[in-house]
Structures are given as C-alpha cells and as structure tokens.
Symmetry: C2
Subunit: 200 residues, 2 copies
DNA sequence: CAAAAAACCTAGGGGCCCTAGGCAGAAAAC
DNA sequence: GTTTTCTGCCTAGGGCCCCTAGGTTTTTTG
C-alpha cells in the first residue's frame, strides 16, 4: 500500500490551503484526511487535535505576513510606508481569508514559542510608526488604532458587512488617509472633551 | 407530562444569553435543549436549524443595539455624540459578547425582512456624522472607517488580541479622539500621495 | 538482515445536526 | 362537556465530526 507521506508541515500547509477555500471553520480533520486519501485517525500522529491544527495555520500565516509586511515597508517611510503596509494587510486578508482568520485565534503559548515569528508582525507596525514621532503610551495607542481599523475593515469586508454600493477599495484608501491624518495630528494626552488638532 | 412552554422568542432569548456566556460557536441545539430540559428534536418546531438560531440572535441584538445607540446619541452632537456612540458600542460588545458576535453573521434576507430593526443601526451612524458636514461618497467612507475601527477594536479586545499592558480603555479613548480629528480634517478627494489636512 | 521506528490502519465511543413519525396534553368547535 | 383538532414534545435513527486504543505494514537504521 502506497503511503501518503504526511508530515506535520505538509498537513498544516494543506489545511491552510483548504481554509482559504472553504473557510477556517470548515477545516476539519475528516475533510483534511479525505484530501490526503487517508483516514482521519492517521492525522493524529502529526497533529494533536483540531485546535492545534488551526493554531498552526495561524503560525504559518504569521510568518507569511511578516515577510510580506516587511517587504512592503522596506525602503519607505511616513505615509508611503503606511499605505504600503495597509495595502499589504488588506491584500493578504482577501487573498488568504482562511489563513487570515486563523491569525485571530488565541494561540497556545507553548506552540507559539516554537515558531516565534508570530510576534514579529506587531514589531513591524511599531517600527512603521516611528516616522510619526510618537512616544509611549501614544505609540501603543496608535498601533492599536491601526490594527483595529485594518482588522475591522477587512473582516467586515470579508463577511459581507458593507452593503453600500460605494467601491470598497476607494473607501479603504480614504480610511488609510484618514488614519495618516490622525497620526500626524495625534491628540495630546487627557483631552477627552476639548479635542482640537495640534499643529503637527 | 409538564411542558416546557417553548416559543421561538423564548428559545432565541435563551440562546442569546447562552451565547454571551459560552460563546456563539458553542450555542448548539443540544446545549440549548438541555438548558430547557427537553430533547433537541423538540426545538425544531420553533427554529429551522442552528444557522437560523444564530441569525435570530443577531436580529435580537440589532434591536437592542439600535435602542442603546439611539439613547446614547440623543441630544448630543459632534464629538460628544461620537464619544457616546463609541462608548455605547464598546460597552455592548463587551457586555454581550455572544450577541455581538452574532451581529457579524450573514443574515438570510427573508429572515431579516421579518424584523427590520437591523438596518436601523447603520442609519444611526450616518445621522451621527451629519455634524461633520460630509457629503457622499465621503460620508459612506467615514461610516465605514468608524465601523471598521469600532468593530476591529472590540473584536481584537474580546479575542485577547492586545497583549501590551497599556490600559485598553485609555487606548479606546485615544482612538475615538483620533477618529474625531480625522473626521474634522477629512481628506479631500483624490489625494493618495499628497495628503495634507483641509481647514475643516 | 534483524530490530526499531514510523506511517497508516480498524474498531469504537461520544457529541452534534436534523428528519420522520407517534402520542398525549391543550385549545377549539360543537 | 364532549369531541375534534392542533400543537408540543417525544422516540428512533442516520450522518458527520472528534478523538483514543491498539494492531499491522512499511521504512529506516545499525
């Protein structure tokens, strides 16, 4: 009987591809086993359970994302870097929806330690913001703002949450510009009721 | 044999409460039936299937949200309205995580037609932005920016996506302020590379 | 080539989703 | 007030999924 040649890495890669096609929730051990032409029990020597499978998809995605984002911002700064970063973010999320969805999972710390590429993604966001001259805690607040808007937009877009006929790419560009403006005019601390821009 | 007194509404309400406790994905027909002390087959006279159950949770949530948001912005305008709206948004999402998660589902149009309160929520966002003097398509872009940031933030927060020790409430306040600034200095059309604020 | 290790298997238990069809309590009709 | 009808909940059962235990066959290794 010819063997399928399963390894953890090959299984995870196939699972990621499957996730991009049928959605992360539909990545089941059974479906994955079928795609390899083996029985589901056979997968359990490579993957502990279905949660670990999905978390490993997330780790794979994190590495790919770090690569893409790094390439996108390399040699750019300021608004150019922001736009490139943002576009790389959205492109990845739309091209690889299953992988992207996996990145939102809680990862078991023991597993995350194996492939430490996960944290790298956040670091890139921080370094991209250097150009705006923010200091902590504003820097963290700004990183959170960017992550929130990016993640919110692409997840609403992917989920069909935007019903209006207005072109989504155009709305995205304007959103990124608006963020750029917000970063350039970052509010001074403790101004919840006043709120006029500073002179950047 | 004493009956449980199931109705569609009571079942959905219990499902929503269950979702807030155990998470939307763990709202199963079996678990729900157990909570009523009936067999799962008994639920199918009130609810077509588990998808419809979750969508009905979303409709319930949409009504509650419309109420809360309406109350939050009533009598306010400009930044006050934005802050009140934002805080109402985040509060609801954190207080009722299961219901909130349901609002991100795709709803069957036939079902949505029954309880038309769903669309109301978007209208509120539009009307809240009136004060910033935006015209279409900028208005839609701005609504999408707000929805993206709000949804992104609370979903990252709920999913434990923010690891930094910086206080989340403070980051939220700054994010809302930053959005306010972006709205006041909304970029002029077609300025992807220039990008200086206009004089509001 | 023999032994050890790895890859894949069968068997089986438990949970969830959902359909079909039955019976008994409650409401409606007379 | 009885009979009829309706409805609420039931049992039975099939399908898919997750996962464990333990066996067999292939590959690797000394």
């Amino acid at each position: 009987m010819v063997r399928a040649g399963l390894t953890t890495e090959r299984v995870v890669r196939a699972a990621a591809d499957l996730a991009d096609i049928v959605g992360l929730d539909s990545v089941t051990m059974s479906a994955l086993a079928r795609s390899f032409g083996v029985k589901d029990a056979s997968l359990y020597s490579h993957i502990k359970n279905v949660s670990e499978l999905r978390e490993r998809i997330a780790l794979l995605a994190a590495e790919e994302i770090a690569d893409r984002f790094g390439a996108a911002v390399a040699g750019r700064s300021g608004k150019d870097a922001l736009v490139a970063f943002a576009d790389a973010y959205r492109t990845y999320a739309l091209e690889r929806p299953g992988r992207y969805a996996a990145t939102q999972l809680q990862i078991d710390p023991a597993l995350a330690a194996e492939s430490a590429g996960a944290r790298h993604k956040i670091d890139l966001t921080y370094s991209m913001l250097r150009g705006y001259g923010l200091a902590e805690p504003d820097l963290t607040d700004a990183v959170r703002l960017l992550r929130s808007t990016f993640h919110g937009f692409v997840s609403l877009e992917a989920g069909g949450g935007f019903g209006h006929p207005r072109d989504l790419g155009a709305s995205w560009e304007r959103a990124v510009e608006a963020l750029h403006i917000a970063l350039e005019n970052w509010p001074a601390s403790g101004s919840r009721t006043s709120g006029r821009r500073r002179t950047s």
